[in-house]
Amino acid sequence: MLNRSPRDLITANLSRSPGAARVDHLVVAEMVAPGSRVLDVGCGDGELLRLLELRGVDGRGIELSREGVNASVAKGLAVIQGDADTDLADYPNDAFDYVILSQTLQATRKPREVIEHMLRIGRHAVVSFPNFGHWKIRVKLLLEGQMPRTKNLPDTWYDTPNIHFCTIKDFRQTCSLVGAKMEKAVALNAWGQQLRLPAPWWFWNLFGEQAVFLLSRRPSSGNASK
């Protein structure tokens, strides 16, 4: 059982302009239409939710760590303690416009089922995750022969809450497997800046340190997944 919020661990070092919201949060927020209903799964201390509410979004959150929940509630956010792996099943179909999974995917036990639930509960899903296909990680594994540790992923293999790393390529395959339609994708470099140039996927998979995907249900995929 995780007792820490994975998001706090991973993104503690993510770049942010002074006094402003985190860049990856801004990228996620850009993908959400103002005035919509949003569920942030694994919402940490509620900073993304707060950013969204400032933009007129009706936001809810669930978070595993008690510290994160209590900090969020103290900010006036509608956040409850819960586990993405078990509690999403309790939400009704189409309850939200967007379900967000920010820097949490790799810490879930069943990432594929989590994505399926997100697309059942919400019309759209926004998923951001650290890309394990980034060249620095590949080089570390190749040259050092050990599980890579980076500034943004500082944990040793035995105490990391991140149990299901994936690459951008892996994630794209999973999306087609669960019948999700990729509406938008953004990769961020090591400095948290968007990779702007139009590039093929292999380039993003090599140079993107973070990825943010906006998904929607394929009309044909229906709402079958429970």
Binding site: K75, G76, V79, Q81, P92
Partner: protein, 393 residues
């Protein structure tokens, strides 16, 4: 009215019952309270305290619902015990429920004994206290009476309803019975039903009261007796359930009370025994034994989902009320699982709900105590709800 022959201490207490040190709203024969038991209570009165100022839009009213043995004296010196109000940690100027911002109303519940009509009140038909002729009341009856009080005060919609334990039950009942009259609900250490274990503990307490020969079949006020021992034992047993094993051990351990060794008697050798005896004997000075029977019964009957074929989510369907549910890790009387069931039902209806479990070893009574994390959560919840409600300041 018939002349009552009562011992002085009972006359004093009846003084608080009939003419309390509070504001009183009196409802006449034409304004009866319709009870779940199928009878009407009239006339009746509600004793209540207010703190702060109602704004011109009448939109900043906060209802505080008290627990089983609480009363309307939440933030002032208690007229009988001389002690500070029971929620001065939470409510007051600059406190989380800030009386500089909100108009706080705290009524004594129906069935209680601090000025709202209950079994110790005089039944005008016979000129004697009701005793067991008082109808059995429910949490919903308490809430209906409070709604009549709000009508009397000219308040259409509460900004918030807040309370712990039996107070949380009233808050939840408010949100279900009058959803359009509650903007924000704050049930702390509560549940949507009384569990079998909770009912069992209450039954022990009631049997202790009724086993006291001075109870006289409930007619002790008229007969000039008082079932002190029975009520004290009930309080002692209940008090244990409000604490936790860890808290009791931290406070008292196995320490002796003013002695170095055991006396080899049934005297209160241990500090914890002395503490419980004090809890029991001080309680009977301010509480009516029959009220204890009625209020514990009201809690036992509480089951929000019962009116909705057992489906709790149906009770909250379509609610616009914002909820903040709080529980405590060491509360085994109203454990976190009960609060989680509330959250689960609210989620199913896509209600706006926050839920926090606070780590403490203080047990059920933690809602009355100094818990900084609880205060931060209440402050944050009410602040954000206030912004949504358009409250300024």
């Amino acid at each position: 009215m018939a002349e009552l022959r009562l011992k002085p201490d009972l006359r004093d207490r009846l003084g608080e019952v009939e003419n309390p040190h509070s504001q009183v709203a009196r409802f006449g024969l034409d304004q009866s309270l319709k009870l779940d038991a199928g009878v009407e209570l009239a006339p009746f009165q509600i004793a209540y305290q207010t703190y702060g100022t109602l704004n011109s839009a009448r939109s900043n009213a906060v209802l505080i619902c008290h627990a089983l043995t609480g009363d309307q004296h939440a933030v002032n010196v208690h007229p009988v015990t001389g002690k500070p109000g029971w929620w001065e940690t939470m409510v007051g100027s600059g406190k989380p429920i800030d009386t500089d911002r909100y108009f706080v109303i705290c009524p004594n519940v129906v069935g209680a004994c601090m000025g709202t009509t209950g079994p110790a009140s005089i039944n005008n038909k016979i000129g004697r206290p009701y005793g067991l002729d008082f109808p059995v009341v429910t949490i919903r009856d308490m809430v209906r009476a409070q709604a009549m009080l709000l009508d009397h005060l000219g308040i259409d919609m509460l900004f918030a309803a807040a309370g712990g334990s039996m107070g949380a039950m009233q808050v939840l009942q408010w949100a279900v019975t009058y959803p359009e009259r509650v903007f924000a609900a704050l049930p702390i250490a509560g549940a949507t039903r009384h569990s079998a274990q909770n009912i069992a503990f209450h039954e022990v307490g009631r049997q202790a009261v009724m086993a006291d020969p001075e109870w006289r079949g409930g007619r002790y006020l008229a007969e000039g007796t008082n079932p002190r021992r029975g009520l004290a034992v009930a309080r002692m047993a209940a008090h244990i359930t409000y604490l936790s094993d860890a808290a009791l051990h931290r406070k008292f351990g196995r320490r002796f009370q003013d002695r170095a060794m055991p006396t080899f008697s049934f005297d209160a050798d241990f500090e914890v025994e002395s503490y419980l005896r004090h809890q029991g004997s001080s309680f009977v000075e301010r509480f009516d034994a029959n009220s204890y029977l009625y209020l514990t019964r009201a809690m036992d009957y509480f089951d929000l989902a019962a009116d909705y074929d057992g489906v709790l989510a149906e009770a909250f369907r379509g609610t616009k009320t914002r909820f903040c549910v709080v529980s405590f890790t060491s509360d085994w009387l109203f454990p976190t699982s009960e609060s989680r069931a509330i959250v689960h039902a609210l989620n199913a209806g896509s209600a706006r709900v926050s839920f926090a479990e606070i780590v403490t070893d203080k047990g059920h009574d933690a809602f009355l105590l100094d818990e900084p994390e609880l205060f931060a959560i209440v402050r944050g919840f009410l602040g954000s709800a206030g912004a949504a409600r358009g409250l300024t300041g």
